[in-house]
């Protein structure tokens, strides 16, 4: 049975397809996104306080490596699909980074099926946001080395590391860890109970945006569809294996698979627009939001959970 939040996504897609005038105010979208990041961080942080640091270090390293490797692994494939060097780099960055909402949907799916997962998993999300972007920028600067354009790494690293996603996730994690279960009790009515309802609203908004991207799909031809539907399962498999190697629980393996398979549509587009302006922004966002995101939400996550079940 499809999760109720997925229906909200489909409603948004439908609204766009029938050219309804429905749109969510930009301020609501921003608010929902701030809320989700903080809430995910807090939830993870509360559990983090109970964790010995030693068990976390290998996970952090593995997440960093996984995110950084994905763009390099995808690059030859993307070039083979006839994408230009910079486009291949940018697409790789989108896949290397992660989608927080996809992660959130996966956690609610796990909760619904009663599958436990590492409760500090939010930390993985925070750690996996940046490495893929950096790898993408490295690839892009190699691709255009001939042109002599230089990357200004300083401001770029700053924007990636102190961007709002990482900041709110880590901020929430630290607040949750320091304040603990008891300290965060009085704010649970805002940051815990409404989580899934807020996620539903956010998916409605993402449905509207993704629906708007479907029109672009035709423009970019079949390579985009192949890419968007073919790559996530492969990355999920890689993620699942990393999870296995780390000795994660079934839920943890499913989440690691989901993170690997998800493509960023918030941090990556902005970072690539600034660092790799020659790349086709519409192409990357169409893949990430118009194909990969819907695929993961509707079909991918159940698959990855099943995969994790079999592997663990």
């Amino acid at each position: 049975m499809i999760d109720v939040v997925v229906f909200f996504f489909l409603l948004g897609v439908l609204a766009r397809l029938v050219k309804s005038d429905l749109r969510l105010p930009e301020a609501l979208y921003e608010t929902l996104s701030i809320y989700l990041l903080l809430a995910i961080g807090l939830k993870g942080g509360i559990e983090l306080s109970k964790q010995p640091i030693a068990t976390l270090a290998p996970q952090v390293l593995a997440c960093l490596a996984l995110g950084f490797t994905i763009p390099f692994a995808l690059y030859p494939l993307l070039r083979a699909l006839r994408f230009s060097g910079v486009d291949a780099a940018s697409l790789g960055a989108h896949f290397g980074s992660v989608s927080v909402v996809t992660f959130a949907v996966a956690t609610t799916a796990l909760a619904r099926e009663g599958i436990a997962f590492e409760s500090h998993a939010a930390m993985w999300v925070a750690v996996m946001e940046a490495p893929g972007l950096i790898a993408g920028i490295v690839l892009a600067s190699r691709a255009r080395a001939a042109q002599g354009t230089r990357v200004r790494w300083g401001p770029l690293m700053h924007d990636v590391l102190f961007g709002k996603s990482v900041l709110l996730l880590l901020g929430g994690l630290v607040i949750g860890a320091v304040a603990g279960e008891a300290g965060t009790e009085p704010i649970k009515a805002v940051f815990v109970d409404p989580f899934k309802g807020v996620l539903a609203l956010f998916l409605l908004e993402l449905g509207l945006v993704a629906g708007g991207r479907l029109a672009d799909l035709r423009r970019f031809g079949p390579a985009v569809a192949v890419l968007g539907l073919g790559v996530p399962p492969v990355l999920a498999m890689a993620g699942a294996l990393v999870g296995l190697a780390l000795g994660l629980s079934t839920g943890g393996v499913a989440l690691m698979a989901t993170l690997a398979a998800s493509a960023s549509y918030i941090a990556a587009p902005t970072a690539m627009r600034i660092a790799v302006p020659e790349a086709n922004a519409a192409l990357s966002i169409t893949v990430a939001l118009g194909v990969v995101f819907p695929f993961n939400i509707v079909a991918g996550i159940p698959l990855y959970i099943e995969l994790a079940r079999r592997l663990t």
């Binding site: 749109r23 627009r273 966002i285």
Partner: protein, 102 residues
């Protein structure tokens, strides 16, 4: 009543919001003292607006300045960004009352 007015140039730049930080630095370096930024959106035939998406917002920057400053800014901006970023630039002749301020 007729006030004494002094000719200045109003430079308008409509472009992607991600450029805001970089452009304002460029403006200042090229002699603009101040400016004003508004949020706008482009729109396509279906009346669907862009700007739905974070990486996809559009801003309009206006700088009231000496003609030479406007030229300097426009020239730089055109060469530095126009190849890869959406961008429209125009100049208007305007008049002001306190010329020393712009």
């Amino acid at each position: 009543m007729t006030l004494t007015k002094h000719p200045k140039t109003l430079l308008t730049i409509v472009t992607e919001a991600v450029l805001e930080g970089a452009l304002l630095r460029d403006l200042r370096e090229r002699g603009a003292h101040s400016w004003v930024v508004g949020e706008v959106h482009g729109a396509n035939l279906e009346g669907v607006r862009d700007g739905d998406w974070e990486a996809d917002r559009t801003i309009e920057i206006k700088v009231l300045c000496e003609s030479e400053v406007a030229d300097r800014i426009a020239d730089h901006v055109l060469h530095a960004y126009a190849r890869h970023y959406s961008m429209a630039i125009w100049f208007s002749a305007v008049t002001v009352l306190r010329p020393e301020r712009y």
